[in-house]
Amino acid sequence: MSYRYISMPVYRLIEEFSSDVNKIFEYIDAIYDRIERVENKIKAFITIIPREYMYNNVEALLKKIKSSGSAIPKLFGVMIGVKDNITTMGIRTTCGSKILENYIPPYDATVIVKLKNVGVFIHGKTNMDEFAMGSTTETSAFYPTRNPWDLNRSPGGSSGGSGAALAAGEASIALGSDTGGSIRNPAAYTMVYGLKPTYGLVSRFGLIAYASSMDQIGPMARNTTDLALLLSVISGNDPKDSTSLPIESIDYVKALDDYMYKEPRLRIGIFKELFEGSDDCVKKTVYNSVDKLCSYHDCIEISMPYTKEAVAAYYIIAMAEASSNLARFDGIRYGLKTHIDGRNWVDVYTEVRTKGFGYEVKKRIALGAYVLSMGYRDMYYIRALRFRRMLREKLGDVFNNVDAVASPTMPIPPPRLGEFFEDPLKIYLADISTVIANLSGYPAISIPAGFCNNLPVGLQLMSKPLSESILLYLSAQLEDRTKLRDIIAEV
């Protein structure tokens, strides 16, 4: 009986709970039983809220709501897995790093406040690459997360814990963050849906920064409607985030329903260079799914060179911003500490940062300092920013002729754990499809396309700023045709 709650979409859960609020406790048991059964194999979480605490919390809030006579919030009782770089008051937030191993934030991120306001409960903080620097969830200081579809493979990253939790049935919905593909990559590799919103649509207040001009929190779910539901909750202007767009949240579920009712015929661009650069099996699987859309919509081939240059520009900008953002971790105000008496600050900071940061983080912030240093700043950093403007203009031209651009989310199937240890450049270049959306600030979604040798493959769609409804519409159409929704991996 309880297994049905594990795979049940959130839009059905809220119907169940509204008919009988006590079903929430059966749901809590189902999820926690599932976690107990599979988490040892998957390691999707860094912190799990104890079951008893969840019961008590739900009971207490229910009592408070009933006694006050107010309406039960819309998503009351739904549990969410939150990537561990999003601050949660009173719940450890580590960024997958030793330097924040015991950091307990004194405040909630804006997205968390919004989720709590609609009755959502956080049941765990999901594993991630350290400070979101990685694409396989292997740079986490705690442990790597395993792909529920093949335990010898990575679930992708850096939001790999969120993707794996969804695919394994350990979470109904999840939050991730995306700076260079970190929502879309694990979504593709775990057969779930993941959306990187337009930059500025979702508040970054409370998101521990990696590269501030590209970071975005976004929803991850096992179907399009849940994605739309979660996006409706977390989006909208936030005065605490000066990069937040001056627009209110819209009801994306209603917008999706309107699109599905009207079914407009759209123009989809097939991104030639990104298909050509992909693995044959990935290419074939993604083309099959694109064909399902192109049987209804108008599809044309589009070409945009400089895809490798986009990866270079992304890493230059991301590493430069990261070297500045991570300067705050000095062991004085929060995080890992060391003794300081009689020592100079350089030695103290260096000791804490050397012990607290993993190799990948140290490498990226060192490279970030390199590209910003005298003699190299114009050659690398400024040049990358010029490229960014050129890319955004060329993308603008493309979107004068199409409504969405399609490509494989990732050019290769999920890698084996440890596969990229010897050649990290290979994993950087695997971001070739995803970084374009981050550099330009455009929204993009990863949709399950199918399986390639029993491994998940994703289709990425990108659209103009604030066109999330178009992405959700195309996702829902494809979902109807492929039936790749609400799938839980056999673990």
């Binding site: 230059i316 070297s323 060192a366 390199y370 010029r386 050129m390 450049l425």
Partner: protein
């Protein structure tokens, strides 16, 4: 990428690489910088201004909000401040 540059970068970002890491990072950084160098081949970039931020915002500020609550707190701080040679001695913020 010479060892001197690695040492210089260690000082800039206040981290240290151990011996194994130093060898590994030297090889990796060389390859990554080769990737970065592909931008040199994009000749048309010189006509574009750098795009620091996709919204092209510039330090947006909130309007000042004048509050008159601070008087009592200011009075309390002033009366209890420990002065050393004319300077206010601040409490320790680092717990040992």
């Amino acid at each position: 990428m010479s060892e001197d540059i690695i040492t210089y970068l260690e000082k800039l970002v206040l981290v240290k690489f151990n011996e194994n890491e130093k060898e590994r990072i030297r090889v990796e950084i060389n390859r990554i910088v080769d990737l970065f160098n592909v931008l040199k081949n994009v000749k048309e970039l010189d006509i574009y201004e750098p795009l620091f931020h996709v919204h092209e915002i510039s330090s947006p500020l909130r309007d000042d909000e004048v509050l008159d609550k601070l008087d009592e707190e200011y009075k309390m701080l002033k009366e209890n401040a420990v002065l050393v040679q004319g300077y206010v001695k601040a409490p320790k913020t680092v717990v040992e």
